[in-house]
């Protein structure tokens, strides 16, 4: 799925690396507030949906080669989080949708949760 389509479906705001959005294709996603679980279970996901908002979310994404982090429930990353993501080429999205809703929308539109 094109990242732009995800932005539209989640009615999200692109906060960092806006110019990269058209170049990114997302094949699978995961949703979690526990970075421990993301590190332990996720493989080859391009998108992380989370309600947790601290710099370790971006570091976790970087270690896992996750290219886009979507903050749900209207969570707003602070400048520190934004600049870290900006420098790593990670796209940050903000959506007002709740975790369950956001994951459900993407899932029903065909975005898989490959294990």
């Amino acid at each position: 799925m094109k990242l732009q389509e995800i932005v539209d479906l989640l009615e999200a705001e692109v906060v960092t690396n806006k110019e990269l959005v058209p170049t990114i294709e997302i094949h699978s996603a995961c949703g979690s507030d526990m970075m421990s679980d993301v590190l332990a279970y996720v493989s080859d996901q391009g998108l992380l949906l989370t309600g947790l908002c601290n710099p370790q979310v971006i570091r976790t994404a970087e270690m896992m080669d996750i290219t886009c982090v979507a903050f749900v429930r209207g969570k707003r990353p602070d400048d520190m989080v934004k600049s870290l993501a900006q420098s790593k080429g990670i796209v940050i999205l903000e959506t007002k949708k709740q975790m369950y809703q956001a994951c459900g929308i993407l899932y029903t539109h065909g975005l898989d949760a490959k294990q």
């Binding site: 421990s36 601290n54 370790q56 570091r59 896992m64």
Partner: protein
């Protein structure tokens, strides 16, 4: 055989910048053109170890040695030590407090995950003295 040695201080009071050592190692491995599978495994395992040094110990030093066919990492801290290594290695075992869980860690998955990604792992620990975790990776 020649190797590249790097040493990083992991500040135990700085959760915010935790991960910078793993990040730097990942970058170096990329620049050296190491296989992406190795880079991924090293980055995740070392990051888990770095996080542990900050949330369970008071920080320490990460020594990294990069060879043409693998990577060796020593994570040394002077924290409280691990009472029962076998128990600590079990998935789901964690002594993390709610404060740590609110930061997104403390599921008891770090050490088992490090074991999964590394080709060799050894833990040396003494209560009240500290812990050294050795991680060895080979190009597969």
């Amino acid at each position: 055989m020649t190797s590249i040695k790097q040493s990083y201080i992991v500040d135990g009071n700085d959760f915010i910048s935790c991960g910078h050592a793993s990040e730097a190692v990942k970058r170096t491995l990329k620049e050296l053109g190491m296989p992406s599978d190795l880079i991924r495994r090293v980055a995740i395992a070392m990051y888990e170890g770095e996080i542990n040094m900050v949330i369970h110990a008071e920080g320490g030093v990460a020594d990294v040695e990069i060879f043409s066919d693998g990577v060796k990492i020593y994570l040394r801290d002077h924290g409280k030590g691990i009472a029962d290594i076998e128990q600590a290695m079990q998935e789901g075992f964690s002594t993390a407090t709610d404060d740590i869980r609110e930061l997104g860690f403390g599921a008891g998955m770090g050490l088992p995950n490090m074991k999964k990604y590394a080709d060799e792992m050894e833990i040396d620990t003494e209560i009240g003295v500290g812990t050294t975790v050795y991680l060895g990776f080979k190009v597969r």
